[in-house]
Amino acid sequence: MFYFILNRLAQAILVMAVVSAISFSLFNFVGDPVNNMVGQDATREQRIEIRQQLGLDDPILVQYQRFMVNVAQGDFGLSYRIKQPVSQLILEKLPATLELVFASAVIAVFIGIVLGVFTGIRRHSWVSKLIMSVSLIGVSLPTFIIGIGLIYLFAVYLRWLPSSGRAGVIELGGWKTSLLTVDGWRSIILPAVTLSLFQLTMILRLVRAEMLEVMRSDYIKFARARGLANRAIHFGHALRNTLVPVITIIGLNIGGLIAYSVITETVFQWPGTGLMFIQAVDFVDVPIMAAYLIFVALLFVVINLIVDILYFVVDPRIRRGGS
């Protein structure tokens, strides 16, 4: 177990180094940040001066080295546009994104598993068939269309929920949360549902397929032959055996939620890191973009590590050899 985690950590560090190098080198091709920083009427000398201040004329390796040394000390530099430390900007926006991702992950996992189990057990009932048909919408419609559709229905037509923004924010020991007020809840519902829909259908379909597979297995037949109740068979025996592949997908999907949150946050004007990233791209704000990509990679790596550890918890067969 210890050896295994050590091994995974070493891999994680390698992945992080590669991701940061690639993302950093890419930014040389996305445009010239100086154009966005100065006005139309800036002279050539002013531009050159800014380039030198920022060190943009140095070779790419030198820039990267300088960047990594600073990153290792937790310093992602100043945003070109807002002239504030990037780490501070990210920390400010992070609670909004994490709460959104958390809310939609809970929706996706909970509803996805429940519906997946249901459609797996009662696969011939018309309710299951309806769920499976509707779930196709979740897979096939792009997130922004679902978002706009929901806004139209619930915010414009029914006027039940706010259409955009993050309301009811309370500061709680440096963490700005919107989950403690009614207004906050009302404003998070639409973006969270929008963001979760794709993942929800993925999880639903996977759990259903795994359930069908497991329900055919000999140990389910043997459990029936021992006279166990259906509830014990479905949830005690079958569900747990479907979990290993499901955990893998959920792990990957939570990473995906953060990636997709860029679109959802834009549609709903949700003040999170995704929105910040899109704005940074518009202004070629390299420090923010680099920091954001590293942050996303880090999240993926951490989630994967957690998933690997969860395998140990769920499946005793993997535990062999460990203490």
Partner: protein, 567 residues
């Protein structure tokens, strides 16, 4: 003696697109307390369906279309699901074939036991734990208390089947249905499990139905036997009567098809009662055929020589060498196989016999030792082209005919692939001709060439595998348990085919089996393997009549009792 279970005129139908398929047709059997009834038949005979319909767990869309099942004086075939659930486990226990798959791999066996006990006996959690220990003790699991917290994969196959039996006994049932309880187990463990079932039956005065394809099992354990063929009951009676003086023709041929370990016969007796099981194999002019060309000149001498061969598999990976654990699957083995000889390799599962075959076939790379084929050391890395030419002379036939054929290729493509790969014919019309010849050599019509593997039965698929192996024009054939997934009647056909081919083509054969009677019939010399080592190599007759090594004696002692049912 009143009957515990009575089945009258039971019929089970499976509706399909082509109309109703009667899996079971008007079968009547009864079981008394303290009695073991053997239900024997080949695959597709409907014997498992009878077992499943008793506990109302038929695979959909099967349903009971007629007859009645009376258990303890009450009709049970019309009960609702919920009422039936209360009978399953509590009144009727079931044991399935494969202990690998019948336990939930993610749950400790203690949990699975106490869950069943709480459900069927309505007792509390703490007394369920005590009862679990008692149960494990009664099925012969040593030191049961700490074993409660173990997971199924931490038990060996035989121990796992004991756990399954404990689970079947948990609800204190009156009737046990054991569906092929020992088919997935080694002979030595088979005997222990059968003894256990028998003694539990007598101690607890249980009725037991043993569903099996293996007449050896019936001879070992059953009091009475019912023979099924094609959904119908052909014969029923006391075990001695049915096995010694069978009345029905099917029973007679079934019994005579069981290979004998007592004496060597020229050919296996074929079950001629079964429709179309014997397809006449005619091997004409094979010596002038394409198959016999390109043969190396050697007709005697050593074909395969293995010296001090070893291989290890890592069981536990670790950072430090001292924590690593590896298993010596093949440990310092030396054998020599003469050209044209049938060399048998026998041993229980885990003895390393399949690993040795794979090493010789080049599927694994050994840790140390030498393999020489027709005088050429195939392990030396300097002459790779020579080695691959030599390897072409060797082909393998695998155990499982279901997974060893590519299900997305037609039979023609499967057989012609090696011919086209080696470029061993002039043009595509010759290839087609050779493929047609090969498929008729193995006793199948040429219409099968356009079909896909799933359209064939297990025995037919194994014939296709043999044709595919022959397509490389091999001189050495490695058969890894070629018939252990097949019924006895089909087994007899396949083994006869292999014998004929070997004689006609003077093939060298390495024949691997755990089945001693088969080995006796097929092989000239035999090596007995245990724990990766060779215990004894001897002429077949000498080994069977005068085994020298203790382990060989032990293995031979486990052969099914043939004396009971020799005609």
């Amino acid at each position: 003696m009143t009957n515990l279970l009575e089945i009258n005129n039971l019929s089970v139908d499976f509706p399909s697109r082509r109309g109703q398929v009667a899996a079971v047709n008007k079968v009547s059997i009864e079981v008394a307390k303290g009695e073991v009834l053997g239900l024997v038949g080949e695959s597709g005979a409907g014997k498992s369906t009878v077992g499943n319909s008793i506990i109302n767990l038929l695979e959909p869309p099967g349903y009971i279309s007629g007859g009645e099942i009376i258990f303890n004086g009450n009709r049970i075939d019309q009960l609702s699901n919920e009422e039936m659930r209360k009978i399953r486990g509590a009144k009727i226990g079931t044991i399935f074939q494969d202990p690998q798959t019948s336990l939930n791999p993610l749950m400790t066996i203690g949990k699975q036991l106490s869950e069943t006990l709480i459900e069927t006996l309505k007792i509390s959690g703490s007394s369920a734990r005590e009862k679990s220990i008692e149960l494990l003790d009664s099925v012969g699991i040593p030191n049961p208390e700490p074993r409660l917290d173990a997971y199924p994969h931490q038990f060996s196959g035989g121990m796992r089947q004991r756990v399954v039996i404990a689970l079947a006994l948990a609800g204190d049932p009156d009737l046990i249905i054991a569906d092929e309880p020992t088919t997935a187990l080694d002979v030595s463990i088979q005997k222990q499990i059968l003894d256990l079932i028998k003694s539990l039956c007598k101690q607890r005065n249980l009725g037991v139905i043993i569903v099996t394809h293996d007449i050896g099992v019936i001879a070992e354990i059953a009091d009475r036997v019912a023979v099924m063929y094609n959904g119908q009951l052909v014969e029923q009676g006391k075990v001695e009567q049915v096995l010694q003086k069978p009345k029905h023709d099917y029973t007679k041929s079934l019994i005579s098809a069981v290979p004998s370990g007592d004496q060597k016969l020229h050919r296996f007796t074929v079950v001629d009662y079964i429709d179309g099981s014997e397809e006449k194999v005619t091997l004409e002019n094979v010596s002038e055929h394409w198959l016999s060309k390109n043969k190396s000149s050697e007709t005697h001498g050593t074909a395969v020589s293995v010296k001090n061969l070893s291989i290890e598999f890592a069981i536990r990976q670790a950072l430090f060498r001292k924590n690593r654990i590896s298993l010596k699957a093949v440990d310092d083995v030396s054998i020599e196989i003469q050209t044209g000889e049938s060399f048998g390799l026998v041993g229980e599962s885990g003895s390393g016999k399949s690993t040795l075959a794979r090493l010789i076939a080049g599927l694994y790379t050994p840790k140390s030792g030498d393999i020489t084929i027709f005088g050429h050391n195939v392990l030396q890395k300097t002459q790779k082209t020579k080695t691959s030419l030599i390897r072409r002379k060797m082909q393998m036939i695998f155990q499982d005919p279901y997974s060893s054929l590519n299900s997305r290729m037609t039979v023609e493509d499967i057989i012609s692939e090696p011919i086209r790969f080696h470029g061993s014919t002039e043009n595509s019309s010759e290839t087609l001709k050779v493929v047609r010849d090969l498929i008729s050599f193995v006793g199948m019509p040429s219409t099968s060439l356009k079909k896909y593997p799933h359209e064939f039965s297990g025995g037919q698929r194994q014939r296709i595998s043999i044709a595919r192996a022959l397509a490389s024009r091999p001189e050495i054939l490695i058969c890894d348990e070629p018939t252990s997934a097949l019924d006895v009647s089909v087994q007899a056909n396949i083994l006869n085919l292999l014998k004929d081919l070997q004689e006609e083509l003077s093939l060298t054969m390495l024949f691997i089996s755990h089945d001693l009677p088969v080995i006796r019939q097929m092989c000239d010399r035999v090596a007995v393997m245990q724990n990766g080592k060779i215990c004894e190599i001897a002429e077949t007759d000498k080994l069977f009549d005068h085994p020298e090594h203790d382990y060989s004696k032990h293995l031979l002692g486990l052969m099914p009792r043939m004396d009971l049912f020799r005609l």
